[in-house]
Symmetry: C2
Subunit: 206 residues, 2 copies
DNA sequence: ACGACTTTGTGAACACGGGCACAAAGTGAC
DNA sequence: GTCACTTTGTGCCCGTGTTCACAAAGTCGT
C-alpha cells in the first residue's frame, strides 16, 4: 500500500480546486498510475466509489487518511546532528504533514546542548524517556554510516518500531521493526547510470 | 540494476578492510540480498567471478563503477533555494560520491545573487549555458510542489536528461528523460501506516 | 418507468523478478 | 595426475503484483 500517500496527495489537490467527485481515470492520471490499479487498491480499503459517478473526494480522503493512521500526530526524533541532521531539523516539510519533530538527538556530548533550528539537542540516552513520556514512535537516522547501526539499536531498544534511515548502510533490526531507506547517493548513481547509457547510445548512433 | 550501488558500497567497505576476494555469500549478506540474486545480477555485467574462489574485490569494484558511469564526475544543479534546497546545498554527501554541485538556481529574482553555502545563486535562465558550457547532466528539483513541473520543464528544455525530484508531485517528462523521486512525506506516511497497524494489533491482543 | 450511458469492482490472464537447485569450472592436496 | 571440495553461472519454478476485459450497479434524460 505504498501508493496510498500518492492518492491522498492527489485528492488533497483536487479538494483544494473545489472538486467534489472524481473518476478512477482522473485520479489515476493525477497520481501517475493506471486506473485499473487505482480501483483495485481502493477496493482493498472498502467500496467507497459509486458506479457511474466516481469517488467522493472528501470521503475518500478521510478513508485513506484513516487507513494510513494520519488522524493523529506522530512524534518524530532525528538522530545525528551532522550536516544532514541539521538540514532535516530545519526542513519544515515534516510538520506540514502531521509529523511533529519532538527531539533532536546526538551521541556526541559536545553537540548536546547546542541549539539547532530553535531546539536544544539532547543526548540519545534520553530516548527511553521520549518513548515513555512523549509517545515517540518514529526515529530518523541521519548519522554517518559508521554510527547508523548503533543509533538504530538505541532507537529499537527504547521501543521505537518505525525507522527512516538516511545513512547508506543496511540496518539489521528485529522483525517487528520497519525500516524505510532514503539514499541520495544511490539515487544519484542510478541517474549517473542512465546518463552513461545515453552518452554511449549517442556515441554509437549520433 | 538498482542494486549495483549497494554492491559497490559493500565492496568499498571490504576493500577498506583489506579484503582481496569475496564470495557471493559474503557480499550478498553485506549488501542485504540473497546470494543467488547477487550472482544473477553480477552475471549480467559479465563473468568476473572465479568458481571455487569468489570475486576479486578491486576488479569487481572497477567493473561496477564503470557500469554505473562513475569513472567521471557528474555535474549537478540544484533548482529551488527554499528550505530543502538550502539544506541540500549545504549537504556534503554529493561531493563525496563523485557528484559536483556546479550551480544553485532559483526562479525568484530576489533570491538570485544571494550566497548559499558559499555559492552564488543563479537564475534558472542560465540553464542552457550550464548544459552547454559545463556539461550539466543531472538536475535536482527542490522547489515547492507548485513550481516543480515548471522547473522540470526548464531543465528538460535546456537538455538535462536525468532528474532527481524532491517535490511531492508526479512530473511528466518525455520518454528519454529519467526521473527519480525522493519523497520524505510518503516515507513517513508509510511508517505511520505501520505504527497504526502495530497500535491496532496491540489493542486487540495486548 | 425505461433505456442508453457511465463508471466501478473483480475474476482471469499475464509478466516480471526472486529463489532453488544443480551442472560446470576452477582450486588445492596428495 | 587425479580426486575431493568449493563456488560460480544459470535453467526452471513459483509467487506477487499489474493489466485486461467484462459484468454489475448506478445515473440521467425522456
Amino acid at each position: 500500500m505504498a501508493r496510498l500517500p500518492g492518492y491522498l496527495r492527489a485528492l488533497t489537490a483536487l479538494a483544494a480546486d473545489g472538486t467534489l467527485s472524481v473518476s478512477s481515470e482522473e485520479l489515476a492520471s493525477a497520481a501517475g498510475v493506471s486506473s485499473a490499479m487505482l480501483r483495485k487498491d481502493l477496493s482493498h480499503l472498502g467500496s467507497y466509489g459509486v458506479r457511474g459517478v466516481g469517488y467522493d473526494v472528501d470521503r475518500l480522503s478521510s478513508e485513506i487518511a484513516a487507513a494510513l493512521g494520519l488522524t493523529q500526530d506522530w512524534p518524530v526524533a532525528i538522530v545525528g546532528m551532522g550536516n544532514l541532521g541539521r538540514a532535516l531539523a530545519a526542513y519544515r516539510g515534516f510538520a506540514e504533514r502531521g509529523f511533529r519533530v519532538i527531539a533532536l538527538l546526538d551521541r556526541d556530548e559536545r553537540v548536546v546542548g547546542e541549539v539547532v533550528a530553535g531546539t536544544r539537542v539532547r543526548s540519545t540516552a534520553d530516548l527511553p524517556a521520549l518513548v515513555e513520556d512523549d509517545g515517540l514512535a518514529i526515529g530518523v537516522i541521519a548519522t554517518p554510516p559508521e554510527g547508523a547501526q548503533e543509533a538504530c539499536d538505541e532507537l529499537v531498544d527504547a521501543g521505537v518500531r518505525s525507522v527512516l534511515n538516511f545513512a547508506p548502510v543496511v540496518l539489521s533490526v528485529p522483525d517487528e521493526v520497519v525500516v524505510r531507506k532514503v539514499d541520495l547517493s544511490t539515487e544519484l548513481q542510478i541517474l549517473a547510470f542512465h546518463g552513461q547509457r545515453l552518452a554511449v547510445a549517442e556515441a554509437v548512433a549520433p
